[in-house]
């Protein structure tokens, strides 16, 4: 039983590392795309596919083992929902990169910096979610500060994406279809911070349940 417990703890840690890795890959690939470094972008996309595949295997293993061995009966439903939502973060990051690859949006160079700021902020929110999830498992009483950070980052991501959208739609030299296309990528990128906020909301309730 102790071996099984240690094995699941290690798999959960590996899973969280994959979520964190996906955010780093996303940030690097985003930069590669905007700087036209196509080979590096392709490499990052391949890495992302591997990370997503590994995370899916770990997710299924963790969920199966929790239910098969009746572990943490009071919290396994919460852990299951948590992992499903964390998986959305990896899936969304991968989907954005795949769409960059397929649709190759033409992003005006004068908004690159704002785009980088958006990608940095959403990446930071995903990484903070990983830290908060670790705290949920190890020290739920100390999770509050980490959750506050996630909410702040989500707010910042919203501000950047709204400013970006305003800037895009105020440009006279772009077609409406072009503007709409760029807006789609801004919204999808911002979705990562929104999903991080959803996970933070869940964690705040789940942590209260764990505190005796």
């Amino acid at each position: 039983m102790f071996k099984l417990t240690k094995s699941i703890i290690s798999q959960i840690n590996d899973y969280l590392e994959n979520v964190k890795k996906s955010s780093v890959i996303f940030k690097d690939a985003f930069r590669c795309f905007l700087t036209n470094n196509n080979d590096e972008f392709e490499m990052q996309l391949t890495k992302m596919t591997e990370v997503e595949h590994n995370a899916d295997i770990l997710k299924r293993n963790i969920e199966n083992m929790l239910y098969k061995h009746s572990l943490i009966p009071e919290s396994r439903g919460d852990v299951w929902r948590l992992i499903e939502h964390l998986d959305e973060l990896i899936d969304t990051a991968k989907e954005i990169l795949v769409n960059f690859d397929i649709e190759k949006p033409d992003i005006p160079s004068d908004i690159y910096d704002a785009f980088f700021a958006l990608s940095d902020t959403v990446t930071a929110s995903v990484q903070e979610v990983v830290e908060a999830t670790k705290l949920y498992f190890y020290h739920p009483a100390a999770i509050k500060k980490s959750l506050e950070n996630i909410y702040q980052l989500e707010k910042k991501a919203d501000q950047i994406s709204n400013n970006l959208k305003r800037e895009i739609f105020s440009k006279k030299n772009l077609e409406l279809s072009h503007k709409t296309h760029i807006r789609y990528f801004i919204s999808r990128t911002d979705l990562l911070a929104d999903t991080a906020e959803t996970v933070a909301d869940m964690l705040s309730i789940y942590a209260i349940k764990l505190i005796v």
Binding site: F2, L71, H139, A142, I211
Partner: protein, 337 residues
């Protein structure tokens, strides 16, 4: 006829095992933290150990209230208690075997015009009041300590789950031991002074005192109740009546077990006396009332609004109802037979 008389005690032991083991392992089994088979085996072994090793103290107190020397009378007192327990259980009231047997013994005293030792009776009745109160205080103290530890020391959720499972087994074993030690007096206490039962001589040399035989047989009957009929009760208690988180279950069962141990252990009682503190009365108390007391204490410190005051009312009602009904049935049966 002797077998039929002894079967009355055996029946009371069986029903005690079937019902009260759920107080110890109900939440753990109901929440799937421990499998029933494992819980039943551990509980059975430790109940028998508690009966044989530490059942003397409470048995002596019961005998101070009434020295029943006739096997038939002992059987009637036991049967009255068992019948009262069965009747009140059917009425869905949390009944206490300990209070039923006291009612039966008082009934026997009244019918034979024996004077009742009021000092012993006061000692017994006062423990009925102290037992749930002490369980509540113990639960509050353990809760505060557990909360402090969990706030200060980071602990992985899964490791915490692993250790809670181990503690539920260890404390469940301790609870079963205490249950056996404390409640064995209800099952065989009235048979100890009967003249029909004698010591057992093995291989013409080894003498097994009848008390030990009775403790062992009583423990066996409780264990049989656990093994054959407690599964349904454990699942009902664990999933519906006492739906607690494993952490809270641990606190409640530990408080319950400590209180039962305090009221049954001769060694602990002697230790307290040696410290110059007042003597602890060794009296069979209600396992269910100890559990309700512990849950009340936990509710008090966690959330005042979650306390079920109805349950407290039931305890108070049972302090009067159970012994009175048992007394009446006992007197009635003793007159008839």
């Amino acid at each position: 006829m002797m077998i039929i008389y002894l079967l009355c005690g055996f029946f009371l032991g069986w029903s005690l095992g079937a019902n009260d083991a759920s107080n110890v392992f109900g939440t753990a089994v109901g929440s799937k933290m421990i499998k029933f088979k494992k819980a039943a085996i551990i509980s059975s072994i430790f109940v028998i150990a508690g009966c044989v090793l530490d059942g003397g103290g409470t048995t002596q107190t019961l005998n101070e209230l009434g020295k029943i020397t006739s096997l038939k009378d002992a059987a009637i007192v036991t049967f009255s208690s068992a019948f009262t327990v069965l009747m009140l259980t059917k009425m869905r009231l949390p009944v206490s075997t300990s209070q039923a047997i006291i009612g039966g013994i008082i009934g026997w005293n009244i019918l034979y015009n024996y004077s009742i030792d009021t000092e012993v009776l006061t000692r017994i009745v006062s423990t009925w009041l102290i037992c749930p109160l002490l369980a509540a205080i113990t639960a509050i103290i353990i809760y505060i300590i557990a909360r402090f530890i969990l706030f200060k020391i980071p602990f992985n959720l899964l490791k915490r789950d692993f250790y809670i499972r181990q503690f539920l087994i260890i404390i469940g074993a301790f609870g079963s031991y205490s249950l056996g030690a404390n409640n064995i007096a209800n099952v065989i206490g009235v048979f100890v002074n009967t003249s029909e039962l004698t010591d057992l001589v093995l291989f013409k040399e080894i003498i097994v005192p009848k008390e030990i035989l009775l403790y062992f047989a009583g423990g066996l009957s409780i264990a049989l109740g656990i093994l054959t009929y407690s599964k349904g009760v454990m699942l009902t208690v664990g999933r519906n009546l006492l739906k607690l988180s494993p952490e809270h279950a641990l606190i409640v069962v530990f408080s319950h077990s400590l209180v039962l141990f305090v009221f049954s252990s001769v060694i602990f009682s002697n230790f307290i006396t040696s410290l110059g503190l007042p003597e602890i009365p060794l009296v069979p108390v209600s396992s269910t009332q100890a559990i309700i007391g512990a849950i009340f204490g936990l509710g008090l410190v966690k959330s005042f609004y979650s306390i079920k005051f109805k349950a407290i009312g039931y305890i108070a009602l049972n302090w009067i109802l159970t012994p009175v009904i048992s007394l009446a049935i006992c007197v009635f049966l003793l007159i008839i037979f």
